[in-house]
């Protein structure tokens, strides 16, 4: 077949194809390559990195080049160490950080690959957030390599490019490095320069500068000046807010983050000044795995009492990274109580855990250098039951890998409830790395708390939790914790398990030793009252039916908790007492009875049940139970005994939640405010929901006492304390001396 065409048509056709090819070659294919390179890079391919480098090197324009460096090397804007990690772990909480996959890209670069590009970015790219971030990252890198001077000169050079707020930010970074080196003079000089250049256009920056300056002042022993400095800045910020409000009357109420941070910092400083701290301190240490491998570039956060109740944020003053040897150091730390937190990447925590405990505080005293090492420990491998094993015998055996140095283990079960899971202590103080338990132990294990769910707009008890481990259809799981002879957590079996080697067997099992009875079915369908009646019927028919009896106690306990009564209702007592006959050594039942009679001030029974509880626990006490007993002794005015018990309990319970009662006892016994002030300093109560600053309250008493004849005030004090011991509310309400009233009010909140 042939077609006839003119030469000119042929030529035009060839030209058109040629043009199209050119377009493809020089526009479409490069675009596709960029996309492919980005895709490969984001997928973590090895050649993806090479492609990305080629892409950056051959970028069509400087703008494009900066954009690629910004996006794929520096990372999303403002990824400071307070929000770049996958996981943040500390004594009070473990939190997932970023989404993981989206913040990973820029981390894949080794520093030798990344450094020349970032340096170029800092020296030539447009100034802004990313520019600052790049400079900061380079400085962090140099510091972690011990190349402090290079960090300083790089920052100074970059700073020279801009005299505005961005430049000032870099100056602050430089000042921080000088301070960390112990060169407070150089740091102070830079602060002066920054202050001379004020006002900057950034509120946060001004706040950071003042905070930094205050720390330097404390280092020079001028804590009071530091406080004044902070107060002045708070005042300035308030004035600024007023002015803004006048300018924009329609604007909504707001508090700048700077003000919040300054206030928190002020609290810290105030406390230090009140406690007479006139020197700063240093906190340093290493972060390693238990096998000695140092962990580099881990985020380390020294967090004050005021800060530990929220997640890690940028404005907190003590944040740093570990160097290649895993070392970290904080200088110019204001005396106070702190907790250490770590920021870790998934690959650092995967298969490992940091066994920090709820009450772990670092008490920082002025002029001291505190050393605090962190060792991540391997997760315990569980053995059985695992992988959804079905347990159907009257005994259940749990076993796990032995942990070196472990003296005892605690075994926890987890049951699925409506929203999430509920953790229940099954058995503590297990001596070996396995335990065989009667299945009843699981049925009767209780978490001590109850959860609620909403049904038709009404809050009711979560019935699946009430059934506990007695549902043969539920998939349960378990974990175990290992403790040393001092009761310190060594490691645990639950944690991050993110690859084949660390996943191990799944800790799930089914318990099919029993089948659901009529009462259980009622409970599961949410008919709580009918279920309770059915359990009672079963129990009346057979008064040794421990299962039904336990369910009755659990439901009554839940109902009492729901009605916000004391934990134990009158109705439950005969059942609890019957349980004591059937299972004499059951410690939670004994504690329930102790608790009930303590509320009734039936001291004979309180003593009996506490003694039985003690022997059921084989003499091993937790601080809470002992403090409760000491409180009971205090109410009976058996003050010497109470004092001894409190002292022991305060050593075991580092939260010192009952310290108020101890102070009341000592104050009543000795009448010496001075002595009690010392005790309040020795056992400070840790930040918590009902937190009281006892040192301050006692200082208030001391001040108030000066207005009275010492005998008169002493007598008033004793009367007030006696009213507190006796629970005499009308006398307590009638106290007129403000400081004494505040002290007694704080005592009434002790629980």
């Amino acid at each position: 077949m042939k077609v006839t065409i003119k030469v000119k048509h042929l030529a035009i056709g060839v030209l058109a194809i040629g043009l199209a090819l050119t377009l493809l070659q020089f526009v479409v294919i490069p675009k596709l390559q960029v996309r492919a390179a980005i895709k490969h890079f984001e997928a973590g391919n090895v050649e993806g990195k090479r492609e990305m480098l080629a892409l950056i090197d051959n970028a069509a324009s400087p703008g494009k080049r900066w954009e690629l460096i910004r996006q794929y090397m520096i990372g999303p804007g403002g990824l400071s160490i307070a929000n770049r990690y996958d996981v943040y772990v500390g004594p009070s909480s473990t939190m997932g950080g970023g989404s993981g996959s989206s913040v990973r890209d820029y981390r894949e670069w080794g520093w030798e690959e990344k450094l020349p590009y970032l340096l170029e970015y800092v020296s030539d790219a447009p100034v802004g957030m990313d520019w600052f971030e790049a400079a900061k990252q380079i400085a962090e890198y140099y510091l972690s390599e011990g190349r402090t001077n290079e960090a300083l000169s790089m920052l100074e050079l970059a700073e020279g490019r801009r005299g505005d707020a961005w430049g000032a930010r870099l100056k602050l970074e430089r000042a921080k490095i000088y301070a960390a080196r112990g060169d407070t003079e150089a740091a102070g000089r830079l602060v002066d320069e920054m202050e001379a250049a004020k006002p900057s256009e950034s509120l946060d920056l001004d706040g950071d500068i003042v905070q930094f300056k205050a720390r330097l002042l404390v280092a020079e022993g001028k804590a009071r000046d530091a406080l004044q400095e902070i107060d002045r800045e708070i005042e300035t910020t308030r004035e600024w807010m007023e002015a803004e409000k006048k300018k924009f009357p329609d604007m909504q109420e707001f508090t700048p983050a700077k003000l919040e941070r300054l206030k928190t910092f002020r609290q810290l400083l105030r406390q230090a000044v009140d406690d007479g701290a006139d020197k700063d301190a240093a906190v340093s240490g290493t972060v390693k795995r238990s096998d000695g491998t140092p962990l580099a570039r881990v985020g380390v956060f020294l967090r004050s009492e005021q800060d530990v109740n929220h997640s890690v944020i940028d404005g907190e003053p003590y944040q740093t990274l570990t160097d290649a040897q895993g070392r970290y150091e904080f200088k110019n730390v204001i005396p106070g109580n702190y907790q250490l937190y770590l920021g870790l990447q998934f690959d650092q925590i995967d298969g490992w855990t940091w066994p920090t405990m709820y009450g772990d505080w670092i008490v920082v005293e002025g002029g001291k250098a505190i050393h605090q090492d962190v060792a991540l420990q391997r997760l315990i491998e569980i053995q059985s039951p695992s992988d959804e094993e079905v347990l159907a015998d009257s005994k259940v055996k749990f076993s796990w890998q032995a942990v070196e140095g472990a003296v005892h283990y605690s075994l926890y079960g987890q049951l699925p409830i409506e929203h999430g899971v509920s953790s229940v202590l099954i058995r503590d103080r297990i001596l070996g790395h396995s335990t065989e338990l009667p299945v009843e132990t699981l049925y009767e294990a209780s978490g001590g708390g109850y959860s609620y769910q909403e049904v038709n707009g009404e809050m009711v008890l979560e019935t699946r939790q009430l059934l506990g481990f007695a549902d043969p259809n539920s998939r349960y799981s378990w974990y175990v914790e290992a403790y040393d002879e001092r009761g310190r957590l060594i490691t645990r079996s639950n944690g991050y398990r993110l690859n084949e080697d660390t996943m191990g067997p799944l800790p799930f099992f089914y318990l099919k030793e029993r089948s659901l009875n009529a009462a259980d079915e009622l409970l599961l369908s949410g008919r709580l009252d009918e279920a309770l009646a059915e359990y009672k019927k079963s129990f009346e028919a057979d008064r040794s039916d421990r299962y039904s009896l336990n369910q009755i106690i659990r439901i009554l306990g839940g109902q009492a908790a729901m009605a916000r009564h004391s934990k134990t209702s009158d109705e439950a007592i005969p059942y609890l007492e019957r349980m004591m006959e059937l299972a004499p050594g059951k410690s939670d039942t004994l504690f329930n009875l102790f608790d009930y009679y303590e509320g009734k001030r039936d001291w004979a029974k309180v003593d009996t049940y506490y003694r039985q509880y003690l022997s059921a626990r084989e003499g091993v006490l937790d601080g809470y139970a002992q403090s409760r007993y000491a409180t009971a002794l205090m109410k009976q005015k058996r003050l010497d005994e109470a004092s001894a018990q409190f002292r022991e309990a305060l050593e075991n319970d580092t939260s010192h939640r009952f310290v108020g009662n101890f102070l009341a006892v000592e104050l009543y016994k000795s009448g010496s405010i001075e002595l009690v002030a010392k005790l309040a300093e020795t056992y400070p109560q840790r930040a918590s929901y009902d937190y009281s600053d006892w040192s301050r309250l006692i200082r208030g008493l001391a001040q108030e006492s000066r207005n009275y004849e010492s005998e008169t005030y002493g007598k008033t004090l004793k009367e007030a304390l006696e009213a507190y011991f006796d629970g005499n509310e009308s006398v307590m309400d009638g106290i007129r001396q403000p400081a004494l009233k505040a002290f007694v009010e704080a005592l009434r909140k002790v629980s």
Binding site: I5, K6, V7, A36, G44, S101, S477, E500
Partner: protein, 115 residues
Amino acid sequence: MKMNRERERIKNRLDEELGGLQFGGQEETLRRTHPRSWRDRLRAFWNKEIEVSLLPLGASLAVILAVAAIYQLSDAKNDSGDTDWRDGRQLVEAGGNTYWKDDYERAVASIEGND
């Protein structure tokens, strides 16, 4: 005779009708039929009609397309090779542990498959 007259009449008529028209394209026509200058020759070549056989043209186009397609396909194959390792993975908390969701689901499926 009669025919002559007829012819004359037609000629007269034609003359009359075409009287307003004059042929001025002699030169142009001559240039086209007998190009002399290089420009004219180029133009002649430009408008030359050629016959093209569809078979080799189609065949070569097909070859080009095939090569492009193979290239693209091999590229796509490379793409799908490694991309699944971390992108868009979700974490899941189960049994007190934190797993990658896909790993966890695979493990559970393999356990339940064995039962």
